[in-house]
Each structure stands twice: as C-alpha cells, then as structure tokens.
Amino acid sequence: AQSVTQPDIHITVSEGASLELRCNYSYGATPYLFWYVQSPGQGLQLLLKYFSGDTLVQGIKGFEAEFKRSQSSFNLRKPSVHWSDAAEYFCAGMEYGNKLVFGAGTILRVKS
C-alpha cells in the first residue's frame, strides 16, 4: 500500500541551528513528493515539490529537500532555523492519477 512515514513526532532545535526532517515513502513507482507546513489554526502551505529531474529541490522560506531513491527518502532541510519556522510539517506523496497521501506530521519547536 502507498504510504508516507515521518519517523519523528516532535523535533526541537535551537534558533540558528540546522534542521533536517525525515520522510520515507513506500510506492511502487517514483511518486510525486511534497512538503507542506501548517501553522496553528491555518491551512497547509506548500514548501516544495518533486516531480522528476534534479533530486535536490529548492523551496520557499529557505527550505530544500533531497530525493534519494535508494533510501526511499525525501528529507527536508534548512541550514539555519528561525523562530518563525516553528510549526507542523507534513510530507506527502502521490502516484500519477492517485490521491495525495500525507504522513502524520512532525512538530518543530525552536528554542531561543
């Protein structure tokens, strides 16, 4: 079955430190992959997407993600975290013609 797994429920990082949020997928073929961010009481905002081509994808707000087929991973990274990055982050995957499947989310806390 198609699935997306985010192993970390919570992550806490210091402001200015680097960040990596993990995402693993289970699909028969290479899926389309996405990262969304959700602030409290808000909807989901698209950070970046991978459809094909270059495996390092740049997104908004200084985020990037790298698609690694060998590891079935699509981890989200940011070199220096800001307090405003505190939110919940969702990885999602989709095979062409099928529905978007979300991971359970990772809550990011930023300490000053």
Binding site: Y32, F34, G41, Q42, L44, A104
Partner: protein
C-alpha cells in the same frame, strides 16, 4: 490571487445534529478536494471533484457524509447525523488540474459535544 476560502472557521454542534461546510476554490481551479484532519494526524482525503464530477470518494463515509460541487466552482460538505469521532478540522483544497500542487484553505474546526 485570492486563496481557497472556507467557512465557517469554527463550528460546535451536538452529536446527531447536522452541519455543513462551504468552500470556494481558487478561480480557474478544476480540481477540488475535501480532507479530514483528526488531531495528531495528517489530512485524509474524503472526496475529490474534477469540475463538477466526483473522481474519488472511496474514503467518504457515505452513510453520513455528502458533498456536492454544483456548477464546478463552490462546494459544500455535509455531515448528517454527526458522531463524536467526526471532531476534526475539515480542509478544502484546489488545484489547477489533477496531479498538480494543491492549495489549501484555513479549514473548519468541528467540535462534537
């Protein structure tokens, strides 16, 4: 560009009552989605429309949930009768077409007493 609009933002009802949510997608977006997001979980697709036709409603509890997208623009999602386990945030999203990135509204938070 205006985003996806949803109303109401919050709704509190008692179990067995009915409730309806409204969504206005981004102008020109052919595909509209309704998701249910239970606390601590990722969103789960309830129903997907392509224009005014249903593409996928496999996870919609059809004994109590219904949705329509008349004229291929606005959409309503209804629950009747509501159960305690329906407490969740209901998110509407739209995309230019199928398999294109989805844009989300702020959601309706439903509490069932």
């Amino acid at each position: 560009e205006a985003g996806v609009a949803q109303s109401p933002r919050y709704k509190i009802i008692e179990k067995r009552q009915s409730v309806a949510f409204w969504c206005n997608p981004i102008s020109g977006h052919a595909t509209l989605y309704w998701y249910q997001q239970i606390l601590g979980q990722g969103p789960k697709l309830l129903i997907q429309f392509q224009n005014n036709g249903v593409v996928d409603d496999s996870q919609l509890p059809k004994d109590r949930f219904s949705a329509e997208r008349l004229k291929g623009v606005d959409s309503t999602l209804k629950i009747q009768p509501a159960k305690l386990e329906d407490s969740a945030v209901y998110l509407c999203a739209s995309s230019v077409d199928r398999d294109k990135p989805q844009h989300f509204g702020d959601g309706t938070r439903l509490s069932i007493l």
